[in-house]
Every structure is written in C-alpha cells, then in structure tokens.
C-alpha cells in the first residue's frame, strides 16, 4: 500500500515556534508586512494615503480660510472657504424657514434623536411605549411643529359629496363644526354600511360586530390625528415651500424609510398570497412603481397632477413628493422582503401550521422574524439608497441640502475658486455621517440576528 503513495512521512518533524510572536502589535505587523505581497500592498496603501489624504487635510484645514464675511476672505487662499459654509449654514440646515421660528425644527430634531436612540439600543426598557411614541405620536407632533398645525379643515366626505354644511362656518375652539359633525356622521354611516354588508354576506354575528368595530376604530385613530393637526395651538404657520436644506432631506428620507418598511412587508406578503386578486394587485403595484424612474414619479406628481385635479383642489408640493417617494421605495422594499420570505424553508410554514397557528400568527411569529433577519443588508441598502435619492427632489423645485448648496454657489458675494469644493466637501461629510451611521447600525443588527440563530 505504501508503494502507491508519492510521499509517506516516517518520522515526526520537530515542532516549530510560531512564526511571529502573538500580541496585538504583532498581529498588525504580521498583517502589514508578512510576505512580499503584503509588503507591496502596504507600501502602495501608504503611497495612496500620501497622495490623497494629505492634500485633503491640507485643503480642509491647513490652507483653509476660517474668518470673513464675503469671498474676499477666501480669494488669496488655496484651501477651503469655511466662512462660506458658516454664512450659509442656516440655509443648509433649515432652508428659508423663518429664523425666529427655527426652534421648532430644532425641537423636532431633538425629539427625534431622543426617541430614536433608546429604540435602537436593545437593552433600553419600555420598547413598546417607545415605539408607539416614535411611530404614532412623533410624526403627528413633528408635522404640527414644522407646519404650525391648524389645518382649518372644512369638509369631509359628506361635505364634498352632498354639500353637508349644517353648521355653516361656525367654529368652536378654532375647529369647524361642519367638518367634525361631518366626520362623525361619516363614521357612523360607514359603520352602518359595514354592518349591512356583513348581513348581506350572511356573516356570523361576531364577525359583523368586528367589522363595525374595525371601522369605528380606524375613524377614531384617524380622528385623533386630524384633531391634533386641526387644533389651533397658536403656532405661526410655515409653508413647506420655505422648508429646505438638511431638514427636507431628513423629512423625505425618514418618511420614506418609516413608510416603506411596513408597506413593503404587506406588499411582499400580498405577492406571495394564495388569494389571486390580492396577488395580482400586489404584482401590478410593485411592477408599476419599479418600472418608472423616481424622477418621472416626482415630475408627474408635481407638474402633471395639477392638470388633472379639479380647480381649487391642490395638494401641497412636498406632500406629493413624500407620497411618491414612499410608494416608490415601498415597491423596492417589497422585493427585498420577498427575497427573505423565499429563503425560509417550507418546513417552517408547515411546522407553524402543524402547531395550529393561523396565517397572521405564522407570518408574524415564525416566518417574518427569520425572513427579515436574512434581508437586513438589503433593507439597509435600500434605506441608504433612499437617503441619497432624496436629492432628486431638486427636480421639482424643492431645495434639499444639495439644492441649497447649488443655489448658494450662485451668490455673487461668495463667488470664488474654492467655494465649490468647500461646499461639496461639506455636503459629502454630512451624507457620509448619516449613511455610515446607518450602515454600522445595520452591521450590529446582523451580528445580533446571527447570534440569535446560533
């Protein structure tokens, strides 16, 4: 047998010491200088750093101008023109939001950070309350603070369809009685319709009662939100037209992110549903929104929609964009989530069914937790893409951070050779901070999910 093998060791070789002694420093040294390839790569990297990073540092700090009131401060300087950023900083963050009222967006930023931070830390207590505050209360509060609330709602369903106007323009505490009586009547009417429908379909009494309750519950929740945005809290109204800068970037991105995940999950479930109509509708929705470019969606929503809407009906420009972005990103999110759903083995579904779980409990307690954990990288990829896609709102005359920046370049008072580079460096740093933050947090989530699966 031994004759078949090319080499047979007959005696043990003496054991050797480890090639490089252990220890943190030695690990680095080994990584950088072990073998000719590593040495070559190390030298190349040092060369690259010297080539790129050093001039960048020189530009950003050493050669930069730090003080001044217009471009004359930066004319003799070869580095960054920081006074330009300083002079325009308010615009970069708030757009042309009135200066006296900028405490309101500040408060919204602060509240958001305060509510989001404990939500992201897994060990923080009161998760349910926290999530409720962030996903239900915070958007309404943010809306009221940023716009000033006091929407002055006048007509609901009946008012528009049947000219229901029993209270005329009478108001109580700044609220139009016509609207709220209309709202209540509409709620009762729809509840009655649900009951009638259930009777027609010969549903069981319990199901009919559930349908009625569901209608009333939806109206109650929506009513509470409407009441919050309709109340006159004495805040001066600020139009979305004067919003801009980082504020708009964040509003669009956060709305898109928060709305797209639940919508995307529903669409993904719909696409894999066994009910043909729901499946067809989901497929049509997803393929439609994936089939048109975001620019087209925004352009259509802004410039084409007014041509089709009847006179007097106008939807706020930013709101149109928000809806467009949310639907658009939901379609992409649906496909990411579907990838996760398909990765779950059939046995998981069957096991859940064998335990007697219904469709929703199967999904919520067995399938989705596993599926979402798998697609975290894809989801975050979507979020980061969405965050950067928000710059497309410039197309429809809304100035996000980049839009404000480009407009600021045109100010003759700041025309100078380094203004452009300084501005883009500043924007780049801000975008990087946000995107890298999201990416690192996603990495943490992945590690945690992996630990759970082990």
């Amino acid at each position: 047998m031994a004759g078949d093998a090319a080499f047979v060791r007959t005696a043990l070789t003496a054991s050797q010491p480890p090639p490089i002694p252990a220890g943190p420093l030695h690990g680095i040294v080994r990584g950088l200088f072990f073998g000719p390839l590593n040495i070559a790569l190390t030298l190349f990297s040092i060369f690259l750093i010297a080539l790129l990073v050093l001039p960048l540092m020189r530009f950003l700090f050493v050669d930069a101008a730090w003080q001044g009131t217009d471009s004359t401060a930066c004319l003799g300087v070869s580095g960054a023109c920081w006074p330009f950023i300083w002079a325009k900083l308010g615009q970069f963050i708030y757009g042309v939001y009135p200066e006296a009222l900028r405490w309101r967006p500040d408060l919204v930023f602060a509240l958001g950070a305060l509510l989001l931070a404990p939500l992201l830390v897994q060990s923080a207590p009161f998760k349910r309350l926290n999530a409720f505050l962030f996903f239900a209360i915070y958007p309404v509060a943010g809306f009221v603070l940023l716009t000033g609330g006091n929407l002055d709602l006048k007509h609901f369903l009946l008012g528009r369809l049947l000219a229901w106007d029993i209270f005329g323009s009478a108001t109580a505490a700044g609220l139009h009685l016509s609207f709220w009586s209309d709202y209540g009547a509409s709620a009762l009417l729809l509840a009655a319709l649900a009951a009638a429908g259930a009777t027609l379909l010969r549903a069981r009494a319990r199901n009919a009662a559930l349908a009625v309750l569901a209608v009333l519950a939806v109206f109650a929740v929506v009513g509470a939100m409407l009441l919050a945005v309709d109340l006159d809290l004495g805040l001066a109204p600020v139009e979305t037209r004067s919003w801009g800068g980082l504020m708009v970037t964040l509003v669009v991105a956060v709305t898109g992110i928060v709305a797209s995940l639940p919508l995307g999950i529903m669409l993904a479930l719909g696409r894999r549903s066994e009910m043909p109509i729901i499946r067809l509708l989901s497929v049509i929705f997803i393929e439609f929104w994936r089939g048109v470019p975001l620019i087209t969606v925004l352009f259509f929503a802004t410039y084409m929609l007014p041509l089709f809407l009847p006179t007097g009906v106008s939807v706020d420009g930013l709101l149109r964009v928000l809806i467009g972005v949310a639907l658009f990103s939901a379609a992409y999110m649906a496909e990411v989530v579907r990838g996760g759903l398909q990765a779950i083995p059939r046995g998981q579904y069957e096991a859940a069914q064998a335990l007697g779980l219904g469709y929703w409990r199967t999904m919520i307690e067995v399938v989705l937790p596993q599926a979402l954990a798998i697609v975290i990288p894809g989801i975050v990829n979507n979020f980061i893409g969405l965050f950067k896609d928000t710059t497309l709102v410039l197309i429809v005359a809304i100035f996000d951070l980049l839009g404000q920046l480009r407009a600021a370049f045109a100010d003759p008072a700041w025309a100078g050779p380094t203004t452009l580079y300084t501005g883009f460096a500043f924007a780049g740093i801000i975008y990087f901070v946000f995107c890298y933050g999201m990416s690192r947090y996603a990495h943490l989530l992945e590690l945690r999910a992996a630990a759970v699966q082990r």
Partner: protein, 338 residues
Amino acid sequence: MHRFVYALLIIAGFSVSTARVEAAVLDQIKAKGFLQCGVSQGIPGFSSPDDKGNWTGLDVDVCRAIAAAIFNDPTKVKYTPLSAKDRFTALQSAEIDVLSRNTTWTLSRDTSLGLNFTGVIYYDGQGFMVRKDKKVNSALELSGASVCTQTGTTTELNVADFFRSRKMKYDIVAFATADETVKAYDSGRCDVFTTDVSQLTAEKLKLAKPDDHIILPEIISKEPLGPVVRQGDEQWFDVVKWTLYAMINAEELGVTSKNVTEMTKSPNPEIKRLLGIEGKFGEALGLSNDWGVRILKHVGNYGEIFDRNVGANSKLNIDRGLNKLWSKGGLQYAPPIR
C-alpha cells in the same frame, strides 16, 4: 361600456376644470394674495438666495416689481426655483404665474409652447473666455481650440454654427452644470470657455486667477432674456409687459426710487402719466393708477436694478452695453405710456 362612459365623463370634467384654471390670472393672484414666480436654481446676478435666504437678482427684481404693482408690497412673491428643462412645464401647468428665469426669446419657444414672451429685460449674447497667455485677441483666431461648454444648451449649437460656418476646427468638451464647466476650464481641460457673456463675467469670479483671463470681443449669438407668461390671458400679459416698460420709461425720464415722491409734483406730462397723476392708465391694466409709483418706490427703475444686480454696483460689474437706453446708444426702448 358603462365604465368607459364614466371614464369619458371624468376626463371631460377635468378638461372643463383645467380650462377654468386659465381664466383671469390677475384676479387669481389678487385672490390668493401673492405672485407665484418661477426663477432659476441659482444664476449669479439674475436669481440667487443671499446669506439671509432672500432671493435677489435682476430676474427676481422683475417679480418684485410685478408684485409691487399689484399689491404695493414687493415681498408678496413666492419663488419657485426651476431648472432649465422644467421651467416651461411649470408655467404651462400653472404652478407659476410668470417665468422670470433668464430665458432666451426664440421663435420656437414663442410659438409651440403655448407661451408669450413679454419683453426683454437683458440683451445677452454668447461670448468666449480665454487665458491671456494664449495671446488670442479675436474669436476668429480660435481655430483648433478645445471649447468647454454646458451640454444640452443652445450655446453648444451656437459654437458649432460659428466654427463650421468659418471652416475652423474645434473640439467640444461638454459638462452637465455650469460649475463643472468652469472648473474644467480653470484646470486647463480646454482652451476656451463659452456661454452667455453675463455668465462668463459671473463665472470669471470663480477662477483661481480671474485677472489672467479675458473675454473676447466677438458676440456670436443673440440672447434676449425676458419674462414669460402663458398664452390666453391678454390682461396678465399686459401687466407683466407694462411693468417692464414702466421701469425703462422711468429711467429715461430720470425717475428713481429715491426721487419718486418729489417727481409726483413734476410738471412733465410724461412723468405725470407714468406716476398716475394724469390719466387712468393703471386701471386700464386692472391695477390701481399709482402702479408706477409703487414699482419705482419699492424696486426702482431699470438702471437701478441693473446696476444693483449685475452692473456697476454689483460684484459682477458688467458693462451696460446693449442694455443702455436707446437714447444712449443701447437697445432698451419702451413704448410711451399714454
């Protein structure tokens, strides 16, 4: 079949309602309490936000003058910053009432877009900028040069016309935005930078050494820039047009924002008509008779807004050139108010 009929009805309803939108722009503006003005997303001297976030510039002052004429308050304007390609759509869909955005008056734009040009606020033309050390004194010596320009603009076509008709060789190096183009020129990617002369002057400030560059004397195109309105509302067309004419007439008559109050006592009948002391010219436009006073008091005459935004009192320091009054050898000429 029923569904089809229903769909038709909806479409018919929409077309009726869109037709209604077109009626009486001036009344709509008065009702909503502000003018919706389309400006650029940033063109130095014409429309750009200053450090406080207020829009300033020549095009912006046109908007302010119209608002002053209507409301006696130049701040009752809402600005919609538009890119070059979206500007006409925004006007057609009534998102804006008037487009005051550095827009060249051409036949095709005037005829096929359903728009009307109201006049010329700035006579511009395309020119060339080169480095002084190239020792070029005329555009006719540019054969074989590489030319930096912005892609998708008429400037690109004008360059082609200019060089081809003279059988000169050239290379186009095109970029998406003005900022990129000027940076490319500054870093030596091309020998010549071409765009409208007002822009050349503004972009020159962004060069590392502005004094090392000159703008050649040849102007190779006509670029009359002016405000645009939708077709189909003659009254509104007249309001915008005569707001421009009032500012030009005022300069010719020596009425400025500073002396307008004293000038109301002037014996000159032309000034009296401009300032609404004589005649009912404001009412004929659907405005009040002191519309001229309002424009001049809040915004100023044509010479003032030119100097303040692009001329001698601005960083751009552009020569009046073609934009001098007709009486001083320029092209700015307004029909008389009578």
